[in-house]
């Protein structure tokens, strides 16, 4: 795995270093947006499906496409530049791989949303699947668009005729992404088996506090029957032991007192 020594001072490498950093930032944000889009997409067709959700989806999608187009042009131009030094090229290729994978994910999500939205027309709220979700997706949109707080009063009331327009927009965007993917493949030839990733080879666990609470919930869900009993029995044993300790302490005090 070649080390990229960014400190080598050279005009062209400095320029490409910056380009690399830019590209990395863009790809990171695309990944973030794609993740948020997926979370939102999982709510479509469920009981929280509403015009607002569709609008949120649209906004996220537009942001993702903007990012995608800029990354595409950025990376394509750099990778077609034959005078790129080897280390930089490898980094660029890594970014390229990440970009194409996230684009594929986005494509799949968009298609799914398109199809599900077609089945679940919002006019008939009875048919929406009761999935148990209660909240909306506003926080995720905020995260995706990197805005501190999305203005909640800005609830779009799309009249019904615009839904079909929305659908055609979506179709167009899907095909655009498709074209982008194919163009990328035609213009830049990245050999995927030559790309070596760096970074942690296994996903390391993040902060433990969050995980434990979530773990507790999931543990609760799994077997609410036997599990609480186990926990209750553990608490019971603890109490018993503490009681025994207390009793022995008082007894020893008594012994000391009366002897």
């Amino acid at each position: 795995m070649p080390l990229v020594n960014n400190k080598v001072g050279d005009d062209c490498t400095v320029g490409t270093d910056k380009a690399l950093a830019d590209g990395k930032a863009l790809v990171d944000s695309l990944i973030k947006v794609v993740a948020c889009y997926r979370q939102l997409a999982s709510c479509v067709g469920g009981c929280t499906d509403s015009l607002q959700l569709r609008d949120e989806l649209r906004q996220t999608r537009e942001k993702a496409q903007m990012l995608a187009m800029s990354i595409c042009s950025h990376l394509t131009s750099h990778l077609r530049n034959r005078s790129l030094p080897e280390g930089q090229r490898k980094e660029m290729e890594l970014l390229w791989v990440a970009f194409s994978s996230s684009l594929e994910l986005l494509h799949v999500d968009m298609c799914k949303v398109f199809y599900v939205a077609e089945i679940f027309a919002l006019a008939n709220t009875d048919a929406l699947v009761k999935t148990g979700v209660q909240g909306g997706g506003s926080e995720m949109v905020a995260r995706a668009l990197s805005l501190p707080d999305l203005n909640q009063t800005q609830s779009p009331t799309l009249p019904a005729e615009l839904e079909s327009q929305e659908r055609s927009t979506m179709e167009r965007e899907i095909s655009q992404i498709d074209r982008m993917i194919d163009d990328m493949e035609m213009k830049v030839n990245v050999l995927r088996w030559m790309v070596e990733p760096h970074g942690p080879q296994r996903a390391d666990p993040l902060s433990s506090t969050d995980s434990s609470s979530l773990g507790l919930l999931s543990v609760d869900e799994e077997q609410p029957g036997p599990r609480p009993l186990c926990q209750r029995s553990q608490i019971f044993v603890l109490l018993l032991m503490s009681a025994v300790v207390l009793v022995s302490a008082t007894l020893s005090i008594c012994i000391v007192f009366f002897s």
């Binding site: 973030k32 993740a35 979370q39 997409a41 999982s42 709510c43 469920g46 009981c47 890594l94 791989v97 194409s100 994978s101 996230s102 994910l105 799949v108 298609c111 799914k112 398109f114 199809y115 679940f120 009875d126 048919a127 699947v129 009761k130 999935t131 148990g132 979700v133 209660q134 909240g135 995720m140 995706a144 179709e171 899907i174 095909s175 498709d178 074209r179 993917i181 194919d182 493949e185 995927r192 088996w193 790309v195 990733p197 760096h198 970074g199 942690p200 296994r202 996903a203 390391d204 666990p205 993040l206 995980s211 609470s213 979530l214 773990g215 507790l216 919930l217 999931s218 869900e221 609410p224």
Partner: protein, 702 residues
């Protein structure tokens, strides 16, 4: 107009799953995504599907059940007529829209007018397909008719559209779980994780980053929603990546070459195909519907009680209860068959013959009636038909010598015309050369022996002894226990070996007691022992051959030595590959028998040497044949003795067949002058001449 196949069931996405990473993009180039662009950009036509070169099977077959299950699920959502939902209480929070198993089953019973058992199966199917997931015991995708809770899956995770389930997504999911709590992955998940890490190494950075981002995005949601999403995702992956040992409902078999949802274009090829099809349909022979329907009705009424779908399968259906008693009771070589099985034998002769146990019984009956050669011939013909091409010639020869030739030890009675056709065909033997004779014998057995068999004491005895097992009554826990105890059955290799051993054993025990009308019943007459289907040479010849053995095989041993037949035998043996182990020795035997004629002629030309020389050579012969033993020798010492005995046979048969009665096919091939001279000299010879012997001296090499 934008023509995008999204309105159909499937959207053919980049149709390659991530496991084919190296070719995914290339094939997308090759076959293209089936999206057309609008008219304005018609130059950028994306339907680049390259059907000429792309023979990959990438389309998932249509699963019609998915659309129907979706409709059922949508009906269940109706607030008025749907399933009643209740909130699920967890330690910290409550989550709405949980439904109990019994509610689901009751609703299904009501809606579709089913009984409880069927409603339960339907509910199980909905869970197994992934439309409803259990909240407790999430790994077992069954519906329990009690108060256990379920919830409906969000449409994003439905399998209806049959989005290909990508390995990338699975890798992200596993990475996410690893982030949440390291060591949480189960064994099979860890194996998947390691495998995906190896195969998707180039995008591993992306996967880890995406997993982290998804985790952080999920954290933005409120806790109950987060829990719900986690459950949904987990349920999705239990359906699509089931743990080992479970049966997956999404196991749909092979991918298809053609997209089942795509419209087929109206090209000239398409119309031509339709034309050919309709022409053939017109030319097909037709049957009156009354006739065909009555045949169907008759078949159904006969087999109604034997069909495991329609009637109870005693003791219990192994596919349902995981208890294999049914299979062990109905094994091919079982001693005591079940009553149902015996009843099937009375339906038709074909049933009797196709069941190995029935065939055994019939063979026993025929043995008592001294007409066992018919069945043996029939079995030999079947063996020829279904056997290997390399052994066909020897088999045909062998069958001819055993059953059809004049003076054959197990001569069968077929009419002259059929015999003529058969012998003519045997000049150039192929698989179906004995078909007319086989059919004749089959009809003979069917019309004659079958009827007598059904009235015979053998059959009556079998019927009396047949067992009727009792039905199993398994409780729920016992069923679960059975499911855990499932074991794979015996390997087919072992089964085949057992089968062959049994065949050999059986062949060894058969006595030929039918004599040809041309053979005078001499005491030392050849009794072919055990040459029904290629048996091994561990034949137990009941007749006293030994006195003749020292002198008789010696010319043969001369021949063997001179022509280094042991090598040939080894060749012949090896050339047969996986033929039955016994086949090698008889093939060797056949080789030697065919060499017999040749060597005999040579010997007659040279003149006999002294007996001492022969005697000295015979042990060599034995040792030579001894080395012909094969991989799984049934009787390693036996092969050495059988060929000489059989050879001795040919010298022993004193048949006074007038030379002109011998059946000689017209020899179209060149023969050496030796054989011609010898055959003329060998008129009234004692051995049974096979029509091919003089044709090709290399018979034994197969």
């Amino acid at each position: 107009m934008i023509r995008i196949c999204l309105r159909k069931v499937d959207l053919p996405l980049s149709p390659a799953p991530s496991s084919r990473i190296f070719t995914s993009r290339l094939t997308t180039q090759g076959d293209g995504v089936i999206l057309c662009v609008s008219e304005r950009d018609s130059s950028l036509d994306m339907t680049i599907r390259n059907t000429l070169r792309d023979h990959g099977q990438r389309y998932r077959p249509r699963m019609a059940c998915l659309r129907k299950a979706e409709k059922v699920l949508l009906e269940m959502q109706d607030p008025k007529t749907g399933v009643r939902s209740q909130p699920q209480r967890l330690v910290i929070t409550t989550i709405p829209h949980a439904i109990t198993g019994e509610d689901i089953i009751a609703w299904l019973e009501d809606r579709f007018q089913l009984d409880a058992q069927e409603a339960r199966s339907l509910g199980c199917m909905l869970v197994a397909l992934g439309y409803i997931y259990p909240l407790q015991d999430h790994k077992r995708l069954v519906i329990k008719p009690d108060a256990s809770l379920y919830r409906c899956q969000t449409p994003y995770f439905w399998p209806t559209q049959q989005w290909p389930v990508e390995d990338t997504d699975y890798a992200i999911y596993l990475a996410k779980r690893n982030i949440r709590k390291k060591g949480l992955l189960e064994l099979h998940e860890q194996e998947h994780y390691n495998r995906l890490h190896k195969w998707m190494n180039h995008k591993w950075d992306f996967i880890v980053m995406q997993a982290k981002e998804q985790y952080r995005a999920a954290k933005e949601r409120k806790k109950p929603d987060r829990v719900v999403f986690d459950c949904q995702e987990r349920a999705y992956w239990v359906v699509h990546r089931p743990p080992p040992g479970t049966v997956s409902a999404m196991d749909y078999g092979l991918d298809r070459l053609v997209d089942p949802n795509a419209d087929e274009g109206k090209t000239p090829d398409f119309y031509e195909r339709i034309m050919i099809f309709t022409q053939q349909a017109i030319m097909r022979p037709r049957v009156k519907s009354s006739v065909s329907i009555s045949a169907l009705v008759k078949h159904c009424s006969t087999y109604k009680s034997h069909d495991p779908f329609l009637a109870k399968c005693l003791p219990s259906n192994p596919w349902v209860t995981d208890d294999v008693t049914y299979w062990t009771l109905n094994m091919p070589n079982v001693e005591i068959p079940t009553k149902m099985r015996v009843e099937r034998w009375t339906f038709s002769f074909k049933e009797l013959l196709s069941d190995p146990r029935g065939r055994d019984d019939f063979r026993l009956f025929l043995k008592k009636e001294f007409s066992g050669e018919n069945l043996a011939f029939w079995e030999g013909c079947e063996d020829l038909k279904w056997g290997q091409a390399s052994t066909m010639r020897e088999k045909a020869e062998h069958i001819y010598k055993t059953f059809l030739a004049r003076g054959a030890p197990r001569w069968i009675n077929i009419d002259g015309k059929t015999m003529e056709i058969t012998v003519k065909g045997l000049k150039h033997p192929h698989r179906y050369v004995l078909d007319p004779a086989q059919t004749h014998i089959y009809m003979l057995m069917k019309k004659d022996s079958y009827g007598r068999y059904q009235k015979s004491p053998v059959f009556k005895e079998t019927v009396k002894k047949a067992i009727c097992p009792e039905e199993h009554q398994f409780s729920e826990t016992q069923l679960g226990h059975n499911a855990k105890k499932r074991r794979p059955s015996l390997s087919p290799i072992i089964l085949r070996q057992l089968e062959q051993e049994q065949k050999a054993k059986m062949a060894a025990n058969v006595d030929i007691t039918q004599l040809c009308r041309f053979t005078t019943p001499v005491s030392h007459l050849a009794v072919y022992s055990g040459l029904t289907d290629f048996p091994t040479a561990d034949a137990s010849p009941p007749l006293p051959f030994p006195p003749h053995t020292p002198s008789c095989p010696s010319p043969i041993s001369v021949a063997l030595e001179s022509t280094s037949a042991s090598e040939r035998r080894a060749e012949a043996g090896e050339g047969e590959g996986e033929g039955p182990p016994g086949a090698q020795a008889p093939a060797a035997g056949n080789a030697t028998t065919s060499r017999v004629a040749l060597s005999l002629r040579r010997l007659l030309k040279r003149g006999c040497a002294s007996a001492s020389m022969f005697a000295s050579w015979s042990p060599k012969c034995h040792s030579a044949t001894g080395t012909g033993g094969r991989i799984q020798p049934i009787g390693p010492d036996r092969p050495g003795q059988a060929p000489p005995r059989r050879i001795g046979n040919f010298f022993q048969i004193k048949v006074d067949i007038p030379p002109e009665c011998r059946i000689y096919p017209i020899e179209s091939e060149d023969e050496d002058e030796d054989s011609r001279a010898v055959s003329r000299g060998g008129e009234g010879a004692k051995e049974i001449i096979c029509p091919w012997e003089s044709l090709t001296p290399q018979n034994g090499a197969g």
